[in-house]
Each structure stands twice: as C-alpha cells, then as structure tokens.
C-alpha cells in the first residue's frame, strides 16, 4: 500500500484528544490568583513579605525535590504544587517570623503534610495548614506577634482600641474581637474606619490575610478561570456569616458584626484559597457544601466561643480529616436514578 509508514501508528484507549489544561497550569492559575494578596503583603509589610514568601517557596520546593530524591521517585517539582503550598503558608504567617522558623514550617508542611502520604493528591491534610499548625504548636509566641503595616508604622496606629504609640507590634482585629466579648464593647470598636482598614489591608495580621480587596480580586480570577468552584467559598462565608449573625443579634454590644468576621483574619484566604484545595476537599457538590459549612462554623465557633482569636487553621484541618467520610456519605446518584429502583 504505497509508502505509508505503519510503524509509527500508535494505539491507546479513547478519547484521543485532551483539553490542554494540565495540572501545572491549574497550579499556575492558583499562583496568579494569589498574586494580588502577595502584592498587598508586599505593600504593607515590605521586605518581611518578600523574605517570607521567597523563603517558604524555596524551602517547600527544595523539600519536595529532596523527598523525591530520597524515595527514588520521579521529580514532581514541575507540577508547581509545592510553590502553591509555600505561598499559602507564607501568606498565613506573621510578618515578623524569623526565616529559620519559616524554613522549618515549610519543610514540615511538605515532608510531613504531603510527601509522607505519597505526594500530590494523596495527602489528607492541607500541607500549608499542617506546617502552620506545627509552627503554632512549636513557636506560639512568634506566631502571635503581629507587626504594624509599614504604611502606618511610626505614626499613631489608627485603629487600635488603646493607644499603642510607636509600637512595632499591634494586636489583630480578631484579638480585639476576643477582648470585646469579654469587655462587652464590640460595637464601639467596629466602625467605618476599621472596615475601611480591613478592606484595604492596613491592619495587623498574617501576611496575606489582611487585604480583603486583594483576596477578592484573586478569588474572582480563580472563579472566572473555573479553577475553583463557588460552592466551598460560598458555604464557608454563608455559614460563618450566619453563625456570627446569630451572636450579633443575641448581644450586639459584645459581639462584632457578621461582616467584620468575614473581612478579618484568614476567613477570605481560607474560603477561596485554603478550603478549596481540591486534594483535601470533598469531590461531590453536596460534599462541598457540607465541607464548607463545617469550615465556616468551626472557625466561628473557635473565634467566638473558643480560646483562640482565630480558628481557620483548626477548622480546615478538622474538616480535612472528615473529608473521606463526607465523600462516602455524599455519593453521586446517576442521572437516570439508582439502578433497579
């Protein structure tokens, strides 16, 4: 049959074409989505932000590379998932954390949070949150020392409830919220100025969590690119809002307004970037609603009732643990109904 070259013909199962959207591209999208938050961190915390983000990313990637080397597995650094973990960890750290602590946290996050389970896709817990939990448990003091944003450093802090002149550190809004519950003066603290500050990000807090607007821009990008689904973020935010609203209605003197809780702390970072980590979240839509609602509720429970001012990390880790159960509970029903019914 002519000079047709049959030896080059290959076979494989159908389908023979694939959408050119690969894992590394998904991860790059997440990194792009995190870019506004990183930029905001850089603006408010200057060199601290740069150093922490670079440190975490480099040590995360290095740890993954090393783990692969030790386990004699193919190098998986190219999927960029370690970069994402590094960035999220960095964004959830206090700005003044020493470099060595950040390195330890990143190594722990990748090695224990991800690689011991078998690498990408096999981990049960969100690696970044594992790393942060480890740091919180080990260096509690450093993890709760909050730097004043560079833009208001030196001046009188605009939004502190008590005067903290020339302080290099300040409390986070959530810490005031905690204090307000005790002092029953939440309503006095929360005013328009504070809302404005939390919106732009000019408050104390973790690197990437302070700026509401930056996080929302990044989230919008991820939603438009369909990198994340709307279900988990919506469930987190709605449940947190509802929980906070109930307390606010009961005692509006002591408890902050629901919107305060959505715009402060790591709530938005969690809703759009941490809880949506596909590896550790449920697969089915119903499961996503349950998971998101769980994250939002537990976070608010810790913030309002618990001992810590912030509860995002614990709630995500707790819900990660029950994700396999949620998946088993929320099986999908085929389009034509269950067979034989």
């Amino acid at each position: 049959m002519g000079d047709t070259r049959y030896e080059d013909i290959t076979v494989s199962p159908a389908p023979h074409i694939s959408r050119p959207l690969w894992t590394h591209r998904v991860m790059i999208d997440v990194i792009i989505g995190l870019a506004p938050a990183m930029a905001a961190a850089g603006y408010y915390f200057r060199l601290n932000a740069l150093i922490l983000i670079c440190t975490c990313v480099i040590s995360s990637v290095a740890t993954e590379w090393l783990c692969n080397l030790i386990r004699k597995k193919p190098n998986s650094v190219g999927d960029f998932s370690a970069v994402v973990t590094g960035i999220i960890l960095a964004l959830s750290l206090p700005p003044a954390l020493p470099i060595w602590a950040a390195i330890i946290g990143s190594c722990f996050a990748i090695a224990i949070g991800k690689m011991v389970f078998g690498g990408l896709g096999a981990n049960i817990f969100n690696p970044a949150m594992v790393g942060r939990a480890f740091l919180t448990a080990s260096f509690g003091m450093m993890m709760t020392t909050w730097t004043v944003p560079a833009t208001i450093d030196g001046k009188m802090p605009r939004i502190a409830p008590e005067n903290m002149l020339n302080a290099r550190t300040q409390a986070t809004p959530l810490w005031w919220s905690k204090k307000a519950i005790k002092d029953k003066n939440g309503a006095k603290i929360y005013n328009e100025q504070l809302f404005e500050s939390t919106f732009t990000g000019e408050v104390g807090g973790c690197l990437g969590e302070t700026s509401t607007i930056a996080l929302l821009i990044g989230a919008l990008y991820l939603l438009i690119r369909r990198t994340i689904n709307v279900h988990i973020p919506l469930a987190v935010l709605v449940s947190a809002f509802a929980f906070a609203a109930i307390f606010y209605i009961i005692d509006s003197d002591a408890y902050m307004q629901p919107l305060f809780h959505l715009s402060t702390g790591a709530m938005l970072l969690c809703a759009f970037f941490i809880a949506t980590d596909p590896v550790t979240a449920p697969l089915t839509r119903r499961g996503m609603w349950i998971f998101g609602a769980g994250v939002g509720t537990i976070t608010m429970l810790i913030r309002i009732v618990g001992a810590y001012p912030e509860g995002v990390m614990f709630s995500v880790l707790l819900m990660n643990a029950v994700t396999p159960l949620i998946d088993r509970l929320c099986k999908r029903v085929p389009a034509g109904g269950k067979p034989g019914v």
């Binding site: 047709t4 013909i9 199962p13 078998g118 896709g121 596909p278 389009a335």
Partner: protein, 456 residues
C-alpha cells in the same frame, strides 16, 4: 416562517472539545474507491453473530445475502459487490478483536450504484404496512449506524409490553471531526424524512422529533425544507439542541428533548422512546422503497494526518488502509488511526480492518492534536479537582471508579455505578492530570463481565 436554529435544550455535564469539522463539512459525498476485495465481518451489530450462507469459491452478486442468523437480535450481512468468495477468514474488528469475515474478490465489472437512489414524488409511507416495513428493515440488515449497531428492526417493531410514543431522530453528530451525518442531512434530506415516516409507521409512534445540534444551521434548514416538500409531515418536528459533547448520546438527547432520564441500566423504550440515527433513517428508506440492503455507507475520512479528507460513499467491507490510500495516504506526522471520532473511536494498529455498518469515520490524528500531557511528561496523580464529576453526563464519579479499578477493587467500582458509564470520554478529556479515566472504567467493565462469565 423563520426557522429556529438556536438550540436551547441540553443535558447537564458534557464538554466542548474543538469541533474540527470544517476539514470535511463542505466536502460533498463522493463515491469511494473501486475495491478489489472486501471483507464482510459476520458480526457488525449487537446480538448474535451471523452464520455464513456462502462457501469458498461461491459467486456472489451485489446485494446478495451472505450471512444470517435465526436469533431475534441479529441482522444479516450482504455482499456489496459482484464477486467470488475467496475464503472465510479472521479479520481485525475494532471492538471484538479477530473475528470471522467473508472475503470476497471483486469481478472486474462492478458498477457503482446506490448513491443515486431517488425518492419518487408519489412516495407515501401508507402504501407499506408496518409488517412490510419491519420485514424489509430486517432483510436489509439495517442496524443503528450511529455506532452502537443495534438491529433496527428490534428497535422499531411494536412491542406490546413497551409501547412506543416518541421517535427521536438523532442528527446531533456531536463527535468532533465527523461530518458524514451532516452531509447526509444536507444531501439526502428527503430520503431521511421518508425513512423517518416509514419508521414512524412501523413503530406506531405519534410524535417524531429530529434533534440537530445548533452548530449545523444548514442541516436544520435542509431538514425543515424536506419536511415541507414531502406531504403529510404533521407531527414531525426539527428541534435544535445545544452544541455540546456528547449531545448525540441517546440518553443525553432524550434528556435534552423530552426532559426525561432513561433509567440507569435501562433502555429508551422503557420510557416509550425510540432513537434512530439519520443515516439509519436514510437506510430504512432505501431498504423499504428500493429493496436495497445495507451494503454501503458514508464514511468521513478526516483528521490532520490525512492528505485529502472527505466524505465517501464506500462499500462496507472496504479496508481502512485502502480508504486512506484513496484519500492520498497518511501524512508524515500521522500517529494514530481511529475508527470513529477522537472521543469515542477505537485506535487501530491493523489497517486491513474492514469498514463495518457502524463505521462513520476514519480519523487520522497527529501528535499535535492528541496533545496528551504524557508526551510532555506532565502526567500527575489525581488532584481530586472534580472536573470529571462536573462533565460526566451520567452524573457518575469517574475518578473514584477509575481508581477503584486501578487498585482492583471491582466491587467498590460497582458501588459507584460503574456499569452506568457510557464511555463518552469526557472525563479523560478534561482531566488535568491526564489520567485515562475512561480507559480504566472500560477495563473495569470488561473485568466484571469476565468475572460474571466465569462464575456462571
């Protein structure tokens, strides 16, 4: 009257692979190569394998029945050419592997016929009784030409237990690259409508809906025009549906048009529906009106790996290699020859594989179109991103099923309704980790079938 060509209805899930239909969509149906030899597979349909009616050395004529079976679910096979039976030998079949085929050497004199079939102006389906139509369909060996190959007689014959109400004619052709049904709708629209009317008469359906994807406005217009020219077309309606893969899947089309789900594991007649492909409808008209058995079909030879893509009317039994040679052969970059389209078609290594009644296309792809990440070393483990769940038109959990099969947990795979998978390939198509989800599920189904067989 303005014809509505925008589809509003669809199913949930599905994907949007690149259409790539413009390679052949403007190429008229042309006669295929003058074959020297054909191989007629004895099993070209779902159901019992045919028993050969001829022996080595027998002379056969074009249209002569050469294989048949007594089973209810079966269809006879016919010789497309005048010739002499060379042997009964094994030939590659895309799904069944090596299976028996009747090899016929052509005589020198073999007029190309059939594609010049003309429908007479005084055509009236009421001249034929339902039994006559069913009988003619059975004798002509007509099977579902969209791909499944279910004997059409069994589908359209009235069944007192499952009365039929709605006849849906499938002109979606959602699979990328393929244009044979599109060309048939444009060029043979009267024939299709005649076949539809005959099928309606045979099945006793009161409602007839022709579903066409809205990326084929010309086909929608052509079908509407044909409906107007042929008398007594009341109750036949052309409905544009959304362009989305797999819109042409039987269950998806029913969902889009009737808003009803066929029960999982069930068949359309359970909800009173019969679905026929447009090419099948045309074949019914040919068989009933002109007694022409199903011996030829339109095959789209397409893909960036072919030199001269087009739509050809070829004798069933022509080898794929011969057809590709007729279209100028494989290009330098060609790496995959697919029987069917790129989403559900089967890649073949043996180019002597003959065209069967269900072969709608031969797609030749180059590495560029395949574009799978494994070539770039970009395969990763499952991210559990859930994209496969989103696109699954049957609302299954492909990643769970595939990973259960991978770990040899067939009962777990079954608990996620593996058998409801129709292997449309959407999950593999969208998977960012480039896992062969459909391949695993297919394997799992085969393994379960084998288990059941051995436990009998």
């Amino acid at each position: 009257m303005k014809i509505e060509t925008k589809g509003r209805f669809s199913f949930s899930g599905g994907a949007h692979p690149a259409q790539s239909k413009d390679l052949t969509s403007e190429r008229q149906i042309e006669p295929g190569p003058a074959v020297e030899q054909v191989a007629i597979m004895l099993s070209q349909h779902t159901g019992a394998v045919c028993r050969p009616l001829v022996r080595e050395g027998n002379m056969v004529q074009a249209g002569q029945k050469i294989g048949d079976s007594d089973a209810f679910v079966s269809a006879p096979v016919h010789s497309p050419i005048n010739g002499k039976v060379k042997e009964i030998a094994l030939r590659s079949h895309a799904v069944l592997g090596r299976s028996p085929a009747i090899i016929i050497d052509a005589y020198r004199y073999n007029p190309t016929r059939r594609s010049y079939f003309k429908l007479r102006d005084d055509f009236d389906e009421n001249n034929y009784s339902a039994e006559q139509i069913c009988d003619a369909v059975r004798q002509a060996g007509i099977v579902g030409m969209g791909g499944a190959g279910f004997p059409t007689r069994v589908k359209i014959e009235p069944n007192p237990r499952l009365p039929k109400e709605t006849l849906i004619i499938n002109g979606c052709e959602c699979e990328p690259y393929i244009t044979c049904d599109y060309r048939i709708m444009l060029e043979w629209s009267n024939r299709i409508i005649a076949g539809v009317k005959l099928a309606r008469r045979a099945s006793g359906c009161s409602k007839v809906i022709i579903g066409i994807e809205d990326n084929k406005p010309r086909a929608i217009e052509a079908m509407n025009t044909a409906l107007e020219t042929l008398a007594d077309s009341d109750g036949i309606k052309v409905v544009p549906v959304k362009t989305k893969y797999p819109q042409g899947g039987e269950r998806q089309l029913i969902k889009a048009i009737l808003k009803k789900h066929v029960p999982t594991g069930g068949i359309p007649p359970m909800i009173g529906v019969v679905v026929l492909n447009v090419a099948t409808a045309a074949a019914i008209a040919e068989a009933v009106v002109s007694d022409l058995p199903l011996t030829h079909r339109v095959v789209t030879v397409t893909g960036e790996g072919t030199a001269n893509p087009g739509n050809y009317y070829v004798p069933i039994g022509t080898s794929v290699g011969e057809l590709i040679e007729f279209c100028g052969g494989l290009r330098e970059e060609a790496v995959r020859v697919i029987l069917g389209g790129p989403m559900m078609g089967v890649a073949i290594a043996d180019l002597t594989t003959p065209v069967t009644k269900t072969t709608g296309a031969i797609t030749v792809l180059t590495e560029k179109q395949i574009g799978r990440a494994k070539f770039a070393g970009r395969q990763t483990p499952c991210l559990r991103c859930g994209r496969c769940l989103e696109v699954c038109p049957e609302h299954l959990n492909p990643t769970k099923i595939a990973h259960a099969v991978k770990n040899n947990l067939l009962d777990v795979a079954e608990s996620y309704y593996m058998s409801a998978c129709m292997e449309c390939g959407c999950c593999s198509y969208v998977c960012p980790a480039n896992i062969e989800l459909t391949g695993y599920i297919k394997t799992g189904k085969t393994l379960v079938a084998r288990q059941k067989q051995s436990s009998l």
